[in-house]
């Protein structure tokens, strides 16, 4: 893939360009999907890994810390594979890698540590997006640093209702996150460190 195409992909990801991201998804998802299915994963795992790997690139582009000397695809595949290996390791499952094409090992090693760190963030985001519209609206405003009065003014709910809703939504979110086996494993690992 040419540098020009790589640049187009990166610009599209940074700008959240749906068409570019969709084409990237269509061209590459099957490959990652077969890799994960071949290595003890499910369809849902493949989607999560694929999306979370794109988030790694997105965040790096946003913070201007993306420094790669390989093609975007090589880098992206390495993130996906590393993410999946990390998750599998957490699940304490054996990885059977029948993949013949070996991705640049140096790239993989350099991103392995970062991946470990942002795994927990992925869990937070995944469950937040499963909350109801009201919960997401209220919590978004809470996380943006708005106080109860401001939130009540924006949403039109009473202050008392907003307060109660905020508590219930946050409690539900924390419970959902804590039930995720991956979160428990990640928590244990970080506590040991």
């Amino acid at each position: 893939m040419s540098d020009l195409e790589d640049r187009k992909i990166l610009e599209g990801i940074a700008a959240g360009d749906t068409a570019v991201i969709k084409t990237f998804y269509e061209n590459n998802f099957n490959y990652i999907r077969s890799y994960i299915l071949q290595n003890s994963g499910e369809e849902e795992d493949a989607e999560d890994v694929f999306q979370d790997a794109l988030i790694v690139i997105y965040q790096k582009l946003k913070s201007d810390t993306l420094d790669i000397n390989v093609s975007v695809l090589t880098y992206f595949y390495a993130i996906c594979k590393n993410k999946w290996r990390t998750r599998l390791r957490k699940k304490r499952k054996l990885i059977i890698d029948n993949e013949v094409v070996v991705i640049n090992e140096e790239v993989e090693a350099s991103i392995a540590e970062e991946i470990e760190n942002n795994e927990r963030e992925d869990v937070y985001r995944r469950y937040f997006l499963t909350l109801s519209g009201t919960c997401r609206e209220v919590l978004n405003l809470v996380f943006a640093g708005k106080n109860m009065k401001e939130i009540a003014g924006i949403t039109g709910y009473s202050e008392g209702y907003t307060r109660k809703k905020k508590f219930e939504c946050k409690k539900t979110l924390l419970e959902k996150i804590e039930k995720d086996p991956m979160y428990q494993e990640l928590k244990l690992t970080s506590e040991k460190q």
């Binding site: 959240g16 991201i21 998804y25 997105y58 946003k62 927990r120 985001r125 809470v142 946050k170 409690k171």
Partner: protein
């Protein structure tokens, strides 16, 4: 620790630094003796930190939508492909029966390159390819490919450069050239596929067959050796072909 509205509000006040001096002192004192509270505070601190990044959150949501769209389009396309596949299987059986008979009749007579080529060559099969915005164009190309209208496939694919950027289509294009006797052009296409691609083995296999068709057995053998070392899906065929070469 029981999660109460009061506890959450204290933690939030602590994190937002809005507690009064007295409240803060009392809260910090409680944390000193309560490790569960420390955990809860840290958990909420992280939660606030991660989820306040709305750009990333919106990006994740967009990805989920795109994923759902792609999945839906893929399932529609799979239905179409399975119809194709039926005819592909029927066609393959006819071809295999035909060539098998041919080979049976000629096996002790001549075993030249073109026969070997005809026996081992099968057009690169259509894979599950979908692109929402180019769906019509694509199904037309796929139809022409399955029907053997290779000239049309070439003219369409070379016109649509974005499709040729996909390695899968590079294989279709190479196969199309091969089928209309433009072997050198076919080789150029196959060579475009890098050794890190998942289509690398396919590309090497079709290059080996192209050299066989051209009668360049040495080059073909070299590539077959690569395939054997690769130890993938074409290995068995490559081993057989190498054996046949020795008999020639």
């Amino acid at each position: 620790m029981e999660r109460t509205q009061e506890l959450f509000e204290k933690i939030e006040g602590y994190l937002a630094k809005t507690l009064s001096k007295e409240e803060l002192l009392a809260f910090e004192k409680e944390m000193e003796t309560n490790s569960e509270l420390i955990h809860e505070v840290e958990k909420q601190r992280e939660l606030h930190h991660v989820l306040s990044d709305t750009d990333t959150l919106n990006f994740k949501e967009k990805l989920q939508k795109i994923s759902a769209e792609v999945k839906q389009e893929r399932s529609v396309s799979n239905t179409k492909i399975s119809q194709f596949s039926y005819w592909k299987i029927v066609a393959s059986i006819i071809v295999i029966l035909g060539i098998g008979t041919l080979l049976w009749n000629n096996i002790n007579k001549t075993d030249d390159f073109s026969e070997l080529y005809a026996f081992y060559y099968e057009p690169y099969p259509l894979e599950d390819v979908t692109r929402g915005d180019t769906a019509n164009e694509l199904s037309e190309i796929m139809k022409n490919y399955t029907q053997g209208n290779y000239e049309k496939v070439i003219s369409e694919l070379t016109k649509t450069t974005s499709l040729v950027a996909s390695e899968q289509f590079t294989l279709y294009l190479g196969n199309s050239y091969l089928n209309i006797g433009k072997e050198q052009e076919a080789l150029l296409q196959f060579k475009k596929i890098s050794d890190t691609s998942k289509y690398y083995e396919d590309a090497i296999w079709y290059s080996a067959l192209t050299y066989l068709k051209l009668g360049e057995i040495k080059k073909s053998s070299e590539l077959l050796t690569v395939i054997i070392q690769y130890d993938g899906i074409y290995k068995e065929k490559a081993v057989q072909l190498m054996e046949k070469f020795k008999e020639l």
